[in-house]
Symmetry: C2
Subunit: 428 residues, 2 copies
C-alpha cells in the first residue's frame, strides 16, 4: 500500500482549489496518516486560464470531467462541480462505471440520485463518499455511518444551512427585518445563485435526506421532505419566541415512527438554552439520537474553503487507508423504500395571527381551535390602536392535521387578516 | 466477508453486559451495517454465577481472560476489565500476540502502555481500537483519527470527566460546598472506587493523553500531563467566576507549540456563553481545532452502559467492515517522542487570596505581582468584618512561571493567609 493514491479533481472553485492546496502543503502529514502518498494526476474545470492561487501546471488538464473520471492514472474521482445533473452526474457515473472510487461534496446530486449512484458504486466495487455534502467540516456522515452504527437511530435534527441561521441570528441580534437581513447576507456573498436553495430550505433539505437514509436504512427520499422556508418569519415572531424562552431556527428533523418516515425542514421554535437554541451565525449543528448512546451533538463550520476541503480530505484519507464502507452504511440493495409519514409527530405549535377588530373575533378564533381539537396553552392579544390586533397563541401538543383544520376554519371566519403563521415547537 | 465476526468479551460489568445485550437484540441491524453477522464465542469475568440480566449460557466461559484472548474461535478480543495493568494488560497483550484485533474501553491501560500496545498490534497485523476509552458515547477518537485527518490539529480541549462536571454544576446551581456536592455524587455512585481518579483529574488526564497522541502524532505521554484536581474550588470561586461571565470547568487542553507539547488537565475559567461554558451535569464535550476546519465541537454522554457500549460496537462494526486504521492514526514507529513544553501558553489568570488585615497588605500583593511582571486587569477586595479579607484578581495574559513567582513572593510577604487559588482563564 505504498503506491500513491492518485486523484482526479473536477471543479476548481473555492473548495477544489483548497483541496489542491492542502495536498501540496501537507504531503508528509497526509502520507503519514494515510500510509501512502496522496497525489493529483489531473484536474478539470470550465476555465483553464483563471488564476486559482495555486499552481496547476504539474497536473494533466481535462476540459471534460467525464474524460478526467475515466483516466487510467486516476484512482479516486473528486467531484466538486456541483449541481444535481449535468456534468457532475455524468462524470460521477463515468467514474463509477470505470471502477473508480468517488468523493463528492454534492448534496443535490446525492439527494436526487443517491440510490442509483450507490447501486452503481457497489456494482463496480467502488466506494462513493460524501462527508463534505452535509454540514461542511463536521464529520457527521462518519459519526452516523460508523461511530454510532451500533444504535437504532431514533431521531436526527440539524441546523444545516448557515445562511438561514445567519439571517435569523441577525434579525434577532440587530433587530433587522427579514428583507434587511437577507440583503446583508446577499451582500456578504452568503447566498446561492438561486437564493431559494438557501432560504427555501432546499439545500438543507438535501442534507437532511442523506442523513435520513443512513439513519434509518432507507433509500434517499428528498421528494418526501416537507420543506418550508424562512421567508415568512418576522421580527415579531423572533421577539415573541425569545420572550417565551425560544429561538427560531430552520430546523431539519427526521425520525422513523409507526406512521412512517418523517422528514421536515422548516422554521421551528427550540428552547433558547438548548445547544440548538444557542447556535448563532453561520455555524451548523447536527443532533443525533440513538437508543444506546442517547443524544450526541456535533457543531462546526458548515461551509467555506477550509472546512469543506477538510471533509473531502477525510474521505480521501479513508480511501487511502483502505476503508470501504457502503455509501449509506449498508448495501444499496438492502435500503428500504421509506413510507413517508402522512402526519408528523404531534407537537405544540406557536401561532401568530392578525385579528380584525370586530366584536367576538377572538372568540371565533378560540372556537375554531377548540372545534378542531386543538387546545390552547397560552394566548396573548397585544394592545393596538389600529383596526387590527396581533394575537399570539401557543397550543398544547397537537397534530399538524388538526392544526391545519383549525387554521382553515379561522380563515373561514373572516376575522383573521391574511394567513396565520404556524411554527412547530420542537422538543429537543 | 459473510463469515461471522466472532467476539470474546472479557469483563461483564455494566458495559460488558450492555454489549452482550445489544449483540443479542440487534443481530439483524448489526449484520446489515457490518456486512456480516457479529457473534460472541466466549466470555470471561471474575464471578461466573452472578446474574447480569442477560443469558450467557450459549457462550463458552473462561475464568482466565488470557485464555479467552487466545481462543481459536475468537477474532476480536473485547477488553472491558479495566485497570492499567494486571489481567487487562496481560490479556490484551496475549490477544495481540495471537494476532487478534482488540477493542477496549480502558483509558488507563492505553495511557500507560499505549505505545507498546500499538507496536505489538502492528507487529501482529492486528488493530487496536479504543473509542469507548475517551468521552464515552461521543465518537471523538474516530472524528480526530479519521474525519479530521486532513488537518494540522492546533488544539484539543475537553470536559471529559462527567463526575467533576456534575460536582461543579451542582455547586453552582444548588449552592453546595465542594464537600456537599462530592458527597452527593458519591451517593449517586458517580465516583470511582478511588475518587482521586475523578476529582484529581487522573481519569480525564488519561483521556487527554490519548487524544494528544492522535492529534499531534506523538507517543502517548500521560506522565507529562500537568494534573490539577477540583478539590480546592470553592463556591466563592464559582460565584465570582459567574459574576465575571465565566464558568469553572475541569478542562483538558493539549496543543503543540514552539516550546513543545502542552497537556494540561486543570480547573479553568471559560466564557459562560461558550459551548464549554454551557455544558452542565455529567455530559462530556470535546473541542477540536484544526487549521482547515476551524473549530468542531462534539458533545454527548461521557459514561454509562448504553453510551459506552455504543462506542464499543462502533469499533467492532469497523473491524467487521474491514476498516484497518493504526491505533493512533499513523504507524506506531512514526509517532514521535513529544518534548513536553516547560511552560504553558500565556493566559490571563483568576486569583483568589485571603489577605490579613494589616496596613499596606494590598500594596504588598500588588507589588509582588508587578515585580514578577504580572499586570492586573481587575482587582476586587470584598468588605469584611473579620481579620481577613478576600481579594479577587484577574491578571492580564501572563506566563504561569511569572505567576508562580508572584504567588511565591506574595506568600513570602506574610500578608496572605494560606495558598492563593490560581485558575487559568482559557481562551475558547
Amino acid at each position: 500500500m505504498t503506491e500513491p493514491l492518485r486523484l482526479g479533481i473536477a471543479g476548481l472553485g473555492t473548495v477544489g482549489a483548497g483541496v489542491v492546496k492542502i495536498i501540496r502543503q501537507k504531503a508528509a502529514l497526509l502520507e503519514a496518516r494515510s500510509g501512502r502518498p496522496i497525489s493529483i494526476s489531473a484536474v478539470s474545470a470550465r476555465n483553464r486560464v483563471k488564476d486559482r492561487g495555486v499552481p496547476l501546471d504539474s497536473y494533466a488538464w481535462e476540459d471534460d470531467p467525464v474524460a478526467l473520471a475515466k483516466r487510467d492514472d486516476v484512482d479516486v474521482f473528486v467531484e466538486l462541480i456541483g449541481g444535481s445533473d449535468g456534468p457532475a452526474k455524468a462524470a460521477t457515473e463515468a467514474a463509477l462505471r470505470a471502477g473508480k472510487d468517488v468523493v463528492t461534496a454534492n448534496k443535490a446530486l446525492l439527494a436526487h440520485h443517491g440510490q442509483a449512484l450507490a447501486e452503481a458504486a457497489e456494482k463496480a466495487g467502488a466506494v462513493l463518499r460524501f462527508e463534505a455534502a452535509v454540514a461542511g467540516g463536521i464529520p457527521v456522515v462518519k459519526a452516523l455511518t460508523e461511530g454510532l452504527a451500533g444504535n437504532d437511530i431514533t431521531r436526527v435534527m440539524g441546523v444545516m444551512n448557515g445562511t438561514c441561521n445567519y439571517i435569523l441570528t441577525r434579525m434577532e441580534s440587530a433587530g433587522l427585518t427579514y428583507d434587511q437581513a437577507f440583503a446583508e447576507a446577499d451582500g456578504l456573498g452568503y447566498l446561492e445563485a438561486d437564493p431559494n436553495l438557501d432560504v427555501g430550505g432546499i439545500d438543507a433539505g438535501h442534507k437532511l435526506s442523506l442523513l435520513a437514509a443512513i439513519a434509518f436504512g432507507t433509500q434517499v427520499a428528498f421528494d418526501a421532505v416537507e420543506l418550508e422556508g424562512i421567508g415568512r418569519i418576522s421580527i415579531e415572531d423572533i421577539r415573541q419566541a425569545a420572550d417565551m424562552g425560544y429561538k427560531v431556527k430552520l430546523l431539519g428533523v427526521c425520525q422513523m415512527t409507526g406512521r412512517g418516515l418523517e422528514q421536515r425542514m422548516s422554521p421551528c421554535l427550540v428552547p433558547a438554552t438548548s445547544p440548538l437554541g444557542q447556535l448563532e451565525g453561520g455555524t451548523n449543528m447536527v443532533v443525533i439520537e440513538g437508543d444506546q448512546v442517547g443524544q450526541v451533538v456535533l457543531r462546526g463550520p458548515g461551509a467555506g474553503e477550509g472546512p469543506t476541503a477538510s471533509a473531502v480530505l477525510g474521505d480521501v484519507i479513508d480511501i487511502a487507508r483502505g476503508t470501504r464502507v457502503s455509501t449509506f452504511g449498508q448495501p444499496a440493495a438492502s435500503l428500504e423504500l421509506a413510507k413517508p409519514a402522512q402526519t408528523a409527530t404531534p407537537a405544540p405549535y406557536y401561532l401568530r395571527l392578525i385579528l380584525l377588530d370586530k366584536p367576538g373575533a377572538l372568540a371565533k378564533v378560540a372556537a375554531a381551535l377548540g372545534e378542531a381539537g386543538v387546545s390552547i396553552n397560552r394566548m396573548r392579544q397585544r394592545s393596538h390602536d389600529q383596526n387590527t390586533a396581533p394575537v399570539l397563541i401557543v397550543t398544547h401538543k397537537t397534530t399538524r392535521a388538526a392544526l391545519d383544520n383549525a387554521l382553515a376554519a379561522m380563515v373561514g371566519t373572516k376575522v383573521v387578516e391574511g394567513e396565520p403563521v404556524a411554527l412547530r415547537i420542537e422538543q429537543v
